[in-house]
């Protein structure tokens, strides 16, 4: 049996403050992006900010989603601060 995983990516301030650009996490059944965020926040330290006062934006497979969006094995999930281009 292959382990079911998903890829998590961080950008900009989050990438820097977490010291993490990308990680692989086990994919659970009926898991939302918000659940993932809570799981990562529970690591404490800088990770706690994922559920802090600063907004965190979420993309699944490179499309913006709400925290209630379901994540599946093989997905690329990204967390990042509000965008500031242009």
């Amino acid at each position: 049996m292959t382990e079911q995983t998903l890829t998590v990516r961080f950008f900009a301030r989050l990438r820097e403050e977490l010291g993490t650009e990308q990680l692989t996490m086990p994919a659970n059944e009926e898991q939302t992006a918000g659940d993932l965020l809570a799981e990562l926040a529970s690591r404490g330290g800088p990770w706690a900010q994922l559920q802090g006062s600063q907004p965190v934006m979420i993309a699944i497979n490179q499309a913006m989603v709400k925290p209630a969006a379901v994540v599946k094995a093989g997905d690329e999930v990204a967390f990042f601060p509000p965008v500031t281009g242009g």
């Binding site: 990516r9 950008f11 900009a12 301030r13 990438r15 993309a59 490179q62 499309a63 913006m64 990204a78 990042f80 601060p81 509000p82 965008v83 500031t84 281009g85 242009g86």
Partner: protein, 149 residues
């Protein structure tokens, strides 16, 4: 057409390409954003722009598609630079070619406004006392949302 690039761009050749958009073209609106020489803080010497490769292009393609549904758009061009930029350098170009001026203006401004709130770019200001990430402006969010009304 969409380009995300570290190199500078030439608005003259972009204009020429937009103008050569075939029959019925009557109006070309362009917008160019520059690095302002005084940012949110003093002593800023430049910017660093990070983006989410792949997603950026998808988001902008979606904005051009939406603009083309809402207005007459004969051709649209978006260029956004990433990496390190000095003061006064060009950051972003949006050009729209249309049959009519109202459509050219609206589509160009819509793409630019929506890009600011939905395309995954992040700016970091480089100052003498260090670097700091730019916060999203409430006015940008409001302008982006105004197009939904």
């Amino acid at each position: 057409m969409i380009s995300i690039q570290t190199e500078d761009f030439d608005t003259a050749s972009e204009y020429t390409a937009l103008r050569d958009s075939g029959a019925g073209t009557g109006a070309i609106a362009t917008f160019t954003g520059l690095v302002r020489d005084h940012g949110d803080t003093q002593d800023v010497s430049g910017l660093f722009l990070e983006h989410y490769p792949g997603m950026t292009e998808q988001v902008i393609a979606g904005l051009i598609e939406e603009a083309s549904r809402r207005w007459d758009v004969r051709k649209a061009r978006v260029i956004h630079r990433v990496g390190r930029l000095l003061l006064r350098e060009q950051i972003v170009f949006v050009g729209v070619c249309s049959a009519h001026r109202a459509d050219a203006f609206a589509a160009c401004e819509f793409i630019m406004d929506a890009l600011k709130t939905s395309a995954p770019f992040w700016k970091k200001e480089l100052a003498e006392d260090g670097e700091h990430w730019v916060e999203q402006k409430a006015s940008d969010v409001a302008r982006g949302e105004a197009w939904d009304k």
